[in-house]
Each structure stands twice: as structure tokens, then as C-alpha cells.
Symmetry: C2
Subunit: 414 residues, 2 copies
């Protein structure tokens, strides 16, 4: 099932993407339900293939974290099937009218939601991404070329077989798993005529490699340097609770905070409170000069700390003199991902929410909510901190675009 | 007024873009009206500067078409001011709620329209683009770095002075005209931290240079290879009228057609009709083998004709056996810009409109309507045939993005 001659198949995928784009919601859902049941019925084959990948990974001396990401079992396959069924239950919005108006000359212009076309999804060693990405693409009416990490190739191929078996003839090649070496991926990234968008799912190295090599527009998921600002009028207990949640509930993700900004006017009261809370959770604190005047025994934060995504239990704490310094700091050092203020003052909140330039701005809530599921958008393919096309969680609607459908009765331009 | 040290000023522009993003509609409109009146009152100075540019252009032996694009007079300055006032009358939509929902945990999520941030607009020798681009940027709440062609530098500097004079102190540097050599432009195109999107306005060479050198996302205006398909059930008189309009009303623009697809079943009747019409307008016709069987004395179209943007009075004519061949042809050779069908058959129209992948798809109307003004969107900065972010006319709303504003009462993630 591994296909290396993609130049031959890309025109076919492009063609089938047109058929896929015209499928109705119920037809797409039937296909997704079939994929879910075929994943379950192919369980033995998938697990056998996965054991092959696992053996090879162990031989190569991969880390236990790596092995864990790669490993499948009955539960994980059941979760994959469940994920596909959940995607079926979401609304794609394809075909919906986003706007409609009539011109004085009688032309009617309808702005209609349509799929983007052909997605190229490049991912690493988690085999569940294969079914996940295929389901998101199908539901949003997009054809997809999938390229998973070479370490998971047997698992992915087995999962892809279960998917392919579920596709009706006219879109049989609308989802395509390619087993190609890295240098061939660079070639794929130049095929602008056949691929509309590239979505890298993985770590910074993968994303940078795609950004550097792609001639095709990219939808990605940059780093998350998120900030939490404790305003002078904050409910300090709430502030401790939110800071703690935003830092330690899951430190290794993009919507966890890296910097804590504390208003000078409450620093003396708040800093000892948060110090105790962080100490209990073994969070390493690094402070600027002002902060260290109060928390004397923490490390000094250096300039490079302010825009570092730690992805672990480390936090930098900065004293700010007012909201305007906080906003400026965030607009310079933040990564335009998720930024939060804790305050009981409505005016301060309004200023913060309006002046901070980020995909998601929070008032009195943890940045950890930046997530397709938490937003009620369902499954997502990542969190965008780009500014064009999609910001924040990239769910099914963000995998669509629009076209203008213009109906006339012979109108010509004077 | 010419500023070369842009590295010093970009952080300032970024900062002022935040103030600009928070201005209300009426405040922005007051600024635009002031720009319009300052353009008129600076007329003498602008015309004097323009004469300098014109003299230098003539010395360099520039073509008369070039001189015409560069030249200003009282009427053109009045039109520039009028253009700015028209932009003031449009709605920017900034601050509007695109979507709002409440989560079971009590969080309210509001999707709010916001400016993109800082635009870099690179253009050629038309000085009117300076006021036009500045007004579109201001109205949409975006700061702008303007870089016009070096041949128009005196005119642009004078126009920019009139603009700058109209800006209140806190956004004095939110519109910035940079007079920098070409190699410095390449440097600007790497400044991802300070510029959010690049908009090249000009010919293919300019656009390609930007696409090749930019590390910043680009909004552009690709070539327009537009097709018109005459279905077997077309009203043939209407078909002639539309074909003629779409080809000759203004052949040098992107929404003019380059290919005419004629259903085999009506070819014998239609081709002689369109032949006469095109002949009268001195349109050169090139046909495929089938077409040449009927129109024996026209040139043979070669393979490269089908995806050539002639931008002049040349058209390629292809015989197709049915709608499905027409759709496939367009999806392969078209540039996803504007595509049209002429037919009285509603089912055929529906198939075409749904299966053709382009920014604008037309039924019984000329492709020449793809235009911000014609769509009723007002002024535009170009027509996009990209698929992400914006398709078709790029007006004020397309120069905006959104952010999620999340209000809580201390929610943390479990």
C-alpha cells in the first residue's frame, strides 16, 4: 500500500478532491462511521503492524517516551475509532451561505463555504494522527495526502488500509498515504498545482523544515509563549488558582504560560502567595530585579527567558508598573497565542482584551482553554498563531474557504 | 521625509498599530476626510514633485504608457481625494462580533473582527496608490509601510506629507512611506516580527520577486486565466454578448477571459456567430483541431495557449464534448480566478458552479464583474486567487482577521 510515485497520483487526488467537495454531509458521515468500524475490525492487523514498528524502534534504541507515542493497544484503537465518530457528529458548514446580496444590475452574489481542496499533512510518530487527520479532512470535504513519520510506517499503512477500504470508488484516492523518504517530501512541498495547503503536525524541527522548504501556503501551530498578567485589582486567590492551572496542569503544551506579569502595586502581597503555590508544585521561578527584591531566593530571569517556551515547570516572573507596560511587554515578547489578565476591574479588562494582539485573549480564566474541544469546536488539527486565514484552534471550519457564486441573466460590464 | 532607517522605526510602527486598531469608526473617518482635504490643498506641491519625477522618467527614456501611469494632474488628484472619501464611507467591520457562544463551564467566547496589524504594501509607478493604500489600511485599522516605485519617489513623498499631516499624534507613524533601494526591500521582507502581511501591487515580476524573497505571508493577486464555457443549452445571443464583453471590454485585466470552451453540440451554430463578433473587434482567434474544422482560417492553438494570460485581444477556443470535460479542463488550466458558464439549463449551471474550483464562478454573466466595486464591496487592494484567508476581491474586510475574546470568572482547566 506504500506509494512512492506521487507525481503520478497527485493529479488523480486533485480530480477526486472535486468529487469529494460535492459530497453531502450524510454521505461523508456514512464514510466516517465505516472508517470507525473498519478500524475496530482491522484491530489485529493494525496491532501486528504496530508490533513491527515497535520492535524496530526498540532496536534503534528509541526513548521510552518515543515508544509510548508510537505504541497502540486495543484501547488506543478504540479511541481512534471514537475520535472518527466524534468528527462525524460535527457540522462541516460546507455549502452554507456565508453572505448573499443582490447588485443593482440584478446579479446575485453568494459567498459560499467550500473545502480548501487538497491538504498535505505531515506528522511524526503517533499513528493515531493517520485516522484523525483523514477524518478531519474528509469531514471538511478536503482530499488529503498523509505523510507520517517513517518509524510508524507499518502501523500507518495498516490504519490507512482500514480507511481506504471505507472510501467509495469515486473518492478512493482522495485520501492518500505516502511512504516516501524525507528528500521526496521536499519535492512534494513544491507541488503548488496539486496541493493547496501544508499542515505540519509535530515539533519545532518539523515545522521549521516545512516553513523553510515549502512553496505551498502553510497552516501551523507556532510556539506558545503565553503570558498571565495579574492586575492591581485582581482577586488574588483567583490569580493564584489561574496561574497555577495555566502553568502546571500540563506544562508541555503550547497554551501553558511561560511568563507571569505582576502589577507592582500588589507584588508584596501576591508574590509570596504564588511562591508558596509554585513551590508545592516544584515549579522553578525566575524573576526580574523587582521581583527578586521580594522573592530573594529565586533565580534571576535573563533577557532570553521572556520569549522562551519552556514546556516544563519553569516560570519567569516580571514586575510591571501598570497595565500599559503589561500590554506592551506581551505585544513584544508574546507569541500571539493566548494571553490572560486577572482583574475585577472591567475597564482594565476591556483595555487588555482590546490592546493585546493574540489569537486568544482571556479575562479571569486560564489560558489552558485554548483548544478546539474546550472551545466547543470539536476536534482540531492544531492551534494557529498566524494571523491570516485562521487564528486559534484550527478545526473543521478553519479547513474550509469560500467561493463567490454569481448568478446573472446575461449581464455584461459597461 | 524619505526614511531609510526602517529598523529603527518598525518597532514604533508596530506599537502605533495597536493604538490605530482601537480607534473608532468615526475617528478613522475624520482622519480620512482630513487626508482628502489635505491632498487637495497640497495640490501644487504634489504636482511640482510629480513634474520632477516626470522629467527624470523622460530623461531615462521611459515609455509613454509608463509616463501616463506616473503623471498626475488636478483631475487625478481630485480623484485620489474622492477615492479616500469613498473609503471613509465604507464599513470596516472592526470590532464586530462574528460569533459568540457560552461554554458549559460559564466561559463566554466571542470571535471578534480585528485588524491584521502591520501591512507592507509594495507598488510600482502609480503615485495614486500611496493615498489609496494608506486609506484602505487606515480604514481597516492596519498600520502600513508603503514602498512605491523609485521613479515616483518625489510624487509619493509629497502625497505622503499630505497624509502624515492628517494623522493625530498617537498614530503619526502608523502609516510610513519608506524610500529604500531594492536590496533593502528584501531585508524588509524578512521582518516577520514587525510586519504581518505583504501586499505586492503590480505586475508579475514584482509579485514573483516578493513571493521568492518574503518570509512574511503574502496577499496577492495572481494571474487570471479565466474561461467561459458555452453549454449546449446556452442562449447563443447571450453567449456572444458575454464572450465579447469578457474578452474585449478591457482585455488587459485579470478578469478578462483567455479561453472559450464551446460545447460540441452547438459548435456549428455558435462558432460562426462568435467568429463574426470577434472579427469586428479585431480579436485574434486560436482554435483546437475540432474548432478549426468549422473555423478553418483561424490559427491553431498550441498546448501553451490554454494557460496563457494574453492580456490582449487574443482568445483560444476549444471544443468540449460535455460539461464534465469543460469542468475538468477549467480545473486543470484555469488560474482559480473567475470562470463562467452560459446556459439556460439550471442543472448544468448548478453542476458547473459547484464543481469548478475558483474564487468566482459565474452563471450567465461576464467574468468582468470580479471587482470590489462591482461586487459592492467598495475599493479593493487586488483580486486574490489564493485559497487561504481571502479569495476574489480583497477589500477592507479582507484586510481584517479575528481574535477570540474569552471572559471567565476564574475558570481553570480540570
Amino acid at each position: 500500500m506504500a506509494i512512492t510515485n506521487f507525481r503520478k497520483f497527485l493529479p488523480e487526488i486533485r480530480k477526486q478532491s472535486v468529487f469529494l467537495s460535492t459530497l453531502g454531509e450524510s454521505e461523508k458521515n456514512r464514510i466516517l462511521m465505516k472508517i470507525a468500524s473498519n478500524l475496530i475490525s482491522s484491530q489485529k492487523r493494525i496491532l501486528k503492524a504496530n508490533r513491527k514498528d515497535l520492535n524496530e524502534a526498540r532496536k534503534k534504541g528509541k526513548s521510552s517516551a518515543f515508544i509510548d507515542r508510537l505504541a497502540l493497544d486495543e484501547n488506543r484503537i478504540r479511541d481512534m475509532a471514537k475520535g472518527v465518530r466524534e468528527i462525524a457528529r460535527l457540522k462541516s458548514g460546507i455549502g452554507e451561505t456565508i453572505g448573499k446580496w443582490r447588485r443593482p444590475n440584478g446579479l446575485t452574489i453568494r459567498k459560499m463555504r467550500v473545502p480548501i481542496g487538497v491538504l498535505l499533512i505531515i506528522y511524526e510518530s503517533r499513528p493515531n494522527v493517520t485516522s484523525d487527520a483523514a477524518a478531519l479532512a474528509l469531514k471538511s470535504g478536503n482530499a488529503a495526502v498523509l505523510r507520517g513519520g517513517s518509524d510508524a510506517v507499518h502501523s500507518n499503512t495498516a490504519i490507512f488500509k482500514a480507511i481506504k477500504k471505507s472510501l467509495p470508488a469515486k473518492i478512493k484516492n482522495a485520501v492518500y498515504f505516502v511512504n516516501i523518504p524525507r528528500d521526496k517530501v521536499s519535492e512534494l512541498l513544491k507541488m503548488r498545482d496539486f496541493i493547496d495547503v501544508v499542515i505540519p503536525r509535530g515539533g519545532e524541527n518539523l515545522i521549521n523544515a516545512v516553513v523553510e522548504n515549502s512553496a505551498i501556503p502553510i497552516l501551523y501551530h507556532g510556539k506558545g509563549v503565553c503570558n498571565l498578567y495579574i492586575h492591581e485589582k485582581a482577586d488574588l486567590k483567583m490569580a493564584v488558582k489561574i496561574a497555577l492551572n495555566a502553568k502546571v496542569q500540563r506544562p508541555g503544551v503550547c497554551n501553558a504560560i511561560e511568563n507571569l506579569l505582576v502589577d507592582r502595586k500588589i507584588a508584596k502581597k501576591f508574590l509570596p502567595m504564588i511562591y508558596d503555590a509554585f513551590r508545592k508544585e516544584n515549579v522553578e521561578m525566575r524573576g526580574d530585579a523587582e521581583t527578586k527584591k521580594i522573592l530573594k531566593n529565586i533565580k534571576r530571569a535573563t533577557n532570553s527567558d521572556w520569549n522562551t517556551e519552556y514546556l516544563e515547570k519553569i516560570i519567569s516572573i516580571k514586575s510591571v508598573k501598570n497595565i500599559s507596560e503589561a500590554v506592551s511587554f506581551i505585544n513584544i515578547y508574546g507569541s500571539r497565542h493566548s494571553e490572560a489578565i486577572v482583574t475585577q476591574d472591567k475597564t482594565a479588562a476591556a483595555i487588555f482584551l482590546s490592546m493585546v494582539d493574540a489569537a486568544c485573549v482571556y479575562h479571569n480564566a486560564s489560558t489552558r482553554f485554548t483548544d478546539g474541544g474546550q472551545f466547543g469546536m470539536g476536534a482540531e488539527i492544531g492551534i494557529s498563531n498566524q494571523k491570516l486565514h485562521a487564528r486559534g484552534p484550527v478545526g473543521i471550519k478553519e479547513l474550509t474557504t469560500y467561493k463567490y457564486v454569481i448568478q446573472g441573466s446575461g449581464q455584461i460590464r459597461k
